[in-house]
């Protein structure tokens, strides 16, 4: 019984990043705050980039794709717009994982710039050319900037969380 409970706890801990990603995509969770109108960031990019880079066994590409599709439905975007931008963020993360031996916060952070640029550029291009939506360069820029600035904060939280999973599974 204790073993089953331990296994259950471990599964829940390992599923948490995925559940968080699904919840953000499907719920009313806002990453834009109106008390400061230019302030918005893309938490999905941060979650995807971190977990694909640091522990891909926790976040599968298939789930990233499904979360993208769900986000498109909820926000009424052309289907697969977010999915494509998430998958390209995953691609950069997977590339960095393959190309580097030792990673640190700074290597992660600065390679994340490439992921944000590709992800947001793709989103901007698809939205402006296929969705009849007029996105402003400035809002995409601020979104990219704040996503970049917030990465170390979430990096720290996720690192602690990863250690917690590791400690639990080895206890």
């Amino acid at each position: 019984m204790a073993l089953i409970f331990k296994g259950f706890k471990e599964t829940i801990l390992r599923l948490a990043p995925l559940l968080l990603l699904i919840y953000i995509c499907i719920s009313e969770f806002h990453t834009q705050f109106y008390y400061w109108e230019i302030f918005s960031f893309n938490l999905q990019f941060i979650i995807i980039y971190y977990w694909i880079l640091r522990d891909p066994s926790i976040l599968g590409y298939g789930f990233v794709f499904l979360c993208g599709l769900t986000n498109d439905v909820v926000l009424s975007l052309p289907l697969a717009t977010s999915a494509m931008s998430y998958l390209f963020v995953s691609l950069v993360a997977a590339y960095v994982r393959n190309a580097t031996v030792r990673t640190s916060l700074f290597t992660d952070w600065f390679t994340f710039v490439v992921a944000i640029i590709i992800g947001n550029f793709l989103y901007f291009f698809l939205m402006n050319n296929f969705a009849n939506a007029n996105l402003e360069y400035s809002s995409v820029f601020y979104n990219s900037l704040f996503t970049f600035l917030f990465y170390p904060v979430f990096w720290g939280i996720f690192e602690l969380y990863k250690k917690l999973i590791f400690v639990r599974s080895n206890a």
């Binding site: 919840y23 806002h30 599968g60 439905v73 926000l75 289907l79 590339y95 393959n98 939506a133």
Partner: protein, 285 residues
């Protein structure tokens, strides 16, 4: 040089094709699948539209359920904040009451003036529209899009482009209709464009969303200046889609541009009325 290019090629190929630990699909397959779905969705095929409509209905319901903890925490916070500040609020209300008493005569005058203006604009005190009332089930904004989802759709007679009111004021228009749900594009969305008329001068303009709480008035006449009296904004109906004379907001001059303070706060909408058609006997009443 050639070695570094080879390394890049190997790393990118590996990232695209390798499935790795517990990955069921490669990125390459999923990117191809995304492009396929995106093309299908953009092809505007009827079966795809019907399928998307069904998916939308399902996902919106799930989304509404999963958002309930956020809604609950928001209302709980409001409840406590209201109770903490109840004394302060009481004092403020007393002061306001005194002010309001003194303004009673002014209000009576304004009421008469308002009645007269409404007669001029052929607005009725009762809703002049046949409406369907709907509840907001989802209020998810992206950094770029401001829209809400309501629990009534094509089965209630809702069609694309219909105006949406909150307490009698325009808040947006229908941009997506599913069987049991619809999406409303709010006036402050970047893609919202509404032809309006500025009262009392009667200038024509386009109300354009700016992703901020106050939309902007564009295409104003040259040397336009706001009048000394209140500059109220109504729909002009020039687009042939929205009904004319729906109150929208009040024009104000801010940040070197003419903005509109909406009568209905887009962040505080819980119920809306979708105007299906204008009552035929409006003139007879």
């Amino acid at each position: 040089m050639a070695t570094s290019r080879d390394d890049f090629g190997i790393a990118i190929r590996s990232a695209l094709l390798q499935r790795g630990a517990k990955q069921k699909f490669s990125l390459f397959v999923l990117i191809l699948l995304s492009i396929f779905i995106f093309s299908l969705d953009n092809a505007d095929l009827k079966p795809v539209k019907v399928l998307r409509s069904l998916i939308n209905d399902g996902v919106y319901r799930i989304s509404a359920i999963s958002s309930s903890p956020i809604k609950f925490s928001g209302s709980t916070k409001d409840f406590f904040v209201n109770h903490i500040f109840v004394y302060k609020e009481n004092e403020r209300l007393k002061t306001e009451l005194d002010e309001l008493k003194s303004k009673n005569y002014e209000t009576l005058y304004l009421k008469t003036e308002n009645d007269r203006l409404q007669n001029v604009l052929k607005l009725e005190k009762e809703s002049p529209y046949k409406v369907v009332n709907a509840k907001v089930i989802l209020d998810k904004n992206s950094p770029y899009l401001n829209s809400i989802i309501v629990n009534k759709g094509g089965n209630s007679g809702i069609k694309l482009g219909m105006p949406v009111l909150n307490q009698g004021f325009l808040v947006g228009r229908i941009v997506e209709v599913n069987f049991t749900s619809s999406r409303i594009l709010l006036l402050n969305d970047l893609n919202s464009r509404i032809p309006v008329v500025i009262s009392p001068e009667g200038y024509q303009a386009i109300l354009t969303g700016s992703s901020k709480t106050k939309p902007v008035l564009q295409y104003l006449p040259e040397n336009f200046k706001l009048g000394d009296k209140e500059n109220l904004i109504f729909t002009s109906g020039k687009d042939g889609v929205l009904f004319p004379g729906i109150a929208v907001g009040k024009a104000i001059f801010e940040d070197d541009s003419v903005l509109v303070k909406l009568f209905s706060d887009p962040d505080q909408i819980n119920f809306v009325s979708i105007a299906l058609e204008q009552q035929a006997d409006i003139g007879a009443r």
